[in-house]
Subunit: 597 residues, 2 copies
């Protein structure tokens, strides 16, 4: 099964009932986001994803991007599909209308991003990276820079890249060495960058590289890094392309997955220095870069969500089609579809519960990004900020780990066929594995959560998140449907465990960062499981309300309640495990010293 159908029904349900789309549409600048417009936008996006991008996914993996003499050739069909993507205006869904975007909420953009990534993650990486680059340009570019570059980055006629990593500077960007020498009105950039996604390709005429580099007199470490615009081709005043800049792609990586997406090694300044233009002020490059970190990290979570949903769809399709063995509680020896076997259904249930919880979480954090800058009420704005700050590392890590898990279950549901590349299940399994690594490894996310989001403000923001989650549990408790209401105690128990773990960290690790670091990952897992449960609880309560009111699709609403119950019975138990690991795991982890290995 290589088809993909965007789960529009669940997307709209989550946007309306959980992410609060009707409220978002009342915020300044988001007035376009009416239910009708959003429905039309999602429908169109679903068509592009399903009909154009998804069919290229398997071929892209087989063919992969090819490097030859500095040129990168993307797989057959990618350039044409990208042309359609640009023509449809899909490149800047959440960019404000004045800048040429669609001016829709981030929450809606998360849904379209989910579709691009479900359909073809390798393809979707190109607009995703461009989105980061143009966001920096929007926020920090000079009027002259915006005039020169922004328009075509918003349409996607040119694509942007992020040049951060160097061989010795991965998680620790402070160690980077690329140099930027001042020269009348611009800089000369020299150095090598690695892991540059779509750093070179053949889908557009020009590529605008955002490059971190160090001026000669810059302070050491992360405080001495500046950000530069380094175009592949110089751009003349009239917007036409000038001469080629002094940078080239020297190779692309041979990777486990996302093979259609070229991961480039770029050499800047082999012939005297690439011309670069400073963004904002010197030495503030990391600050600019990190200002869009939340959106980028949310983006990786959404990639995981999309890929996991594709895996779920594939598994369901195979499980319905493949016949093997009699039904366990029947005397009839005739083989049945394997979806009849309870263990297979447990696998599908696990996949669906995780995907739906992940969707609720990602869209809600997307909506909080919308709210944090637009809501008038200070308390609401503060809550939205707390959700964004605390939950972004959770979305990035928990959803990326989830994608790997769900992709693995998909392989398993396929049995022997899952291990054969032809089915595509193996590709999803390979593609997913990058997600816990890039945009800050999941270990770094966990440290960010504990060090910066929990300990730094003494648990203030975390407390707001707890209250936000508790509102959802209250909806479950007060639900008129007894099946839904019965789920509340388990959710409360999970929330209590998260609270306990947070308090333990606040009490016991503020002056012993190594101890906090040793249990940061289980704490993040705990928060992911619990938040997913609370959001699913809120979804079940909403579905019960719709059912009682006769609103919406009754079958869908009943399935939402069943899936939530599955989550509470089969996923929530891990909250207890992760809580124990947080509370009791630090000493024995630190006790294993480097010398013990």
């Amino acid at each position: 099964m290589t088809t993909y159908a965007a789960p529009l029904q669940d997307m709209r349900f989550v946007l309306e009932e959980i992410a609060g789309l009707p409220q978002l549409a009342r915020l300044p600048g988001l007035e376009e986001a009416t239910a009708d417009t959003v429905e039309a936008v999602l429908g169109e996006a679903g068509r592009l994803a399903g009909e154009v991008l998804a069919p290229l996914n398997r071929g892209g993996d087989i063919e992969s991007s090819i490097y030859e003499n500095g040129v990168v050739r993307t797989p057959t069909g990618f350039a044409a599909a990208y042309g359609q993507f640009v023509a449809g205006g899909w490149n800047a869904v959440a960019v404000e209308a004045e800048a040429g975007g669609q001016g829709l909420p981030q929450a809606v953009a998360t849904a379209t991003m989910e579709m691009w990534n479900a359909a073809n993650m390798s393809f979707a990486l190109c607009p995703m990276l461009n989105g980061g680059a143009l966001e920096i340009m929007l926020q920090y570019g000079s009027p002259e820079q915006k005039a020169r570059y922004l328009g075509k980055m918003v349409t996607g006629e040119w694509t942007g890249t992020m040049n951060l990593t160097e061989p010795q500077a991965g998680s620790d960007l402070g160690a980077l060495k690329t140099r930027a020498i001042r020269e009348n009105g611009h800089y000369r950039i020299q150095g090598q960058k690695i892991y540059i996604t779509y750093g070179e390709h053949d889908m557009v005429d020009n590529i605008i590289h955002m490059v971190l580099a160090r001026t000669p007199d810059a302070p050491a470490g992360s405080k001495g890094i500046s950000l530069f615009i380094v175009p592949k081709f110089m751009v003349n005043d009239d917007g036409s392309l000038g001469r080629r800049n002094d940078l080239r792609c020297v190779s692309i990586e041979h990777k486990l997955g996302i093979k259609a997406s070229p991961t480039c090694v770029l050499a800047f300044g082999d012939n005297g220095g690439a011309i670069g233009y400073l963004v904002g002020e010197e030495n503030r490059g990391l600050e600019y870069m990190f200002s869009m970190m939340n959106v980028e990290r949310l983006g990786v979570g959404i990639q995981g969500l999309g890929l996991a949903d594709r895996a779920l769809q594939q598994a369901i399709s195979y499980a319905k089609e493949r016949r093997q063995s009699r039904a366990i509680d029947s005397k009839d020896l005739k083989p049945v579809s394997i979806i009849e076997h309870p263990d297979v259904r447990r696998n599908l249930g696990t996949m669906r519960a995780l995907v739906e919880a992940g969707r609720a979480l990602a869209y809600t954090v997307g909506a909080a990004i919308d709210r944090q800058s637009r809501v008038a009420d200070a308390a609401q704005r503060s809550e939205a900020q707390a959700i964004v700050e605390v939950m972004t590392p959770v979305v990035k890590s928990w959803l990326s780990d989830m994608a790997c898990q769900v992709a693995s279950i998909n392989v398993q549901v396929h049995g022997g066929m899952g291990f054969i590349e032809e089915t595509g299940a193996a590709q999803l399994y390979r593609d997913a594995r990058i997600l816990p690594i890039y945009e800050g490894t999941n270990g770094i996310q966990a440290l960010d959560l504990v060090m910066r989001k929990l300990l730094r403000d003494s648990g203030q923001a975390f407390g707001q998140v707890e209250r936000w989650l508790n509102h959802m549990v209250v909806q479950v408790e007060e639900c008129a449907d007894p099946v839904v209401a019965a789920l509340a105690p388990r959710l409360t128990e999970g929330l209590n465990r998260a609270h306990q773990a947070g308090q333990w960290l606040l009490r016991n690790t503020r002056h012993t960062p190594a101890r906090a670091a040793a249990v940061a990952t289980p704490f993040l897992n705990l928060l992911g499981v619990v938040a997913g449960g609370c959001l699913m609880g809120a979804a079940a309560a909403a579905a019960a309300r719709r059912l009682a009111a006769g609103a919406g699709d009754a079958a869908f609403n009943k399935q939402k309640i069943k899936t939530t119950r599955f989550y509470v019975d089969n996923i929530m138990p891990y909250a207890e495990a992760e809580a124990r690991r947080t509370l009791e795991g630090a000493e024995s982890a630190l006790d294993l010293t480097p010398g013990d290995f």
Copy 2:
């Protein structure tokens, strides 16, 4: 890091202290297994694995086995390495001396198998499958058949294969269609088999296929399947090779991993029928095949163990070598080896705890296979049988899932480099993914555990396993080292949860098999986590005894205790989660009907 050093110290420790090697060496037929002999055997095996097989692993993946016109070419170096393997007599470590084997215990063979698979899983599959075929021949072959085929299968000059699967008959072998027509003194075999590991290759002169097929008048389903010997080349009375039999390899699969191991589609009888010889009696083929199922399934668990240990070694090596970021509790900005970072050490600790628990479990079940047929005392024999029956599906599933998890953590420890094929971490991740699938998917294993091993005898064998595990917890409780003794309550708690879950299944699912099937997987996981913990507890108690007696390597003994503590604090908490999922997960899993997807 593409090197591999067999963990001889832990292997010997586990064999001696946990698997009871000194007791095994007193059993009839195993007298060769003195400490000195075993040490020499393991040392030699370690050299072959480290120096010959491991260096071929990466190249084998890149080159892969190649199919051309019915011929399969294994990667460069494989045939020569196989020659060394045969010359060293490694093919039949646990085969009795009279039959030409080394006559060593299965427990010792598990250790050598661990090495072959750690070094090069694709290579190791060839002797593994041959081992299954020759075991069937040993048990059920006629004297004439043994005289003709067995000798060269024992040495490995010829290799055996297992031909079970057909496109419509995977987990359900009863559905197979390959036909066997009687003809004076032999049968004519016609049909297609898939997923035949090393079904065709260039490392030996002849291949002896063990083929399941159906005679024309056989009963339907699994009771009508017979087993046939179908040689690639006919074997003359003088042992020389005769004409080519009517079977051919029509293609090999393009797989996610184990690419050096050819996975063949074999066509039998395109030109009138391949000549086959009945093994034993007609219609008893599945029975013969299943008689060696325990050894084969243990084998897959050992593959997982070996691959996981290789991943652990690679992760440790990379974590010591790669420098990135300052130490979290230091003001010194100098980047440190990432093994200094607590979250990385948690990852390494998780890997090591799982690998060492897995080793203890696999070797112990290997030893139980030795004991079940050789111990004089009926109660001990019964205990050994119970361990083999109940724990074999656990070894297969838990260790194969563990291998996937550990290989994934290895990728993660490598960061961006982990996603690049060049490091080899990605290969281990790909290779591991077959393990939960073949020799009965892990879902099938869980059903086997619950239906056949727990419910069928009303929990008798399971009770014996509980008592066996409890003996280990008693050793922990009574340990003079307070650090070790303090681990006992958590182990007891886990054992209690396993007991509870088993009793719940016995009480609530005997007449509702669908309900049992719905929670079989969490129950298997629970038993794996708990058994691993109890065995690690016994290992820690033994290490403490050695420390107190000044015996062995003090650093090793201390590390064993630390690793056990890590297991108890960081892995055992999942027992609680899996217990809850067993006790509470069935209804909501079954409630999601096929129509809900």
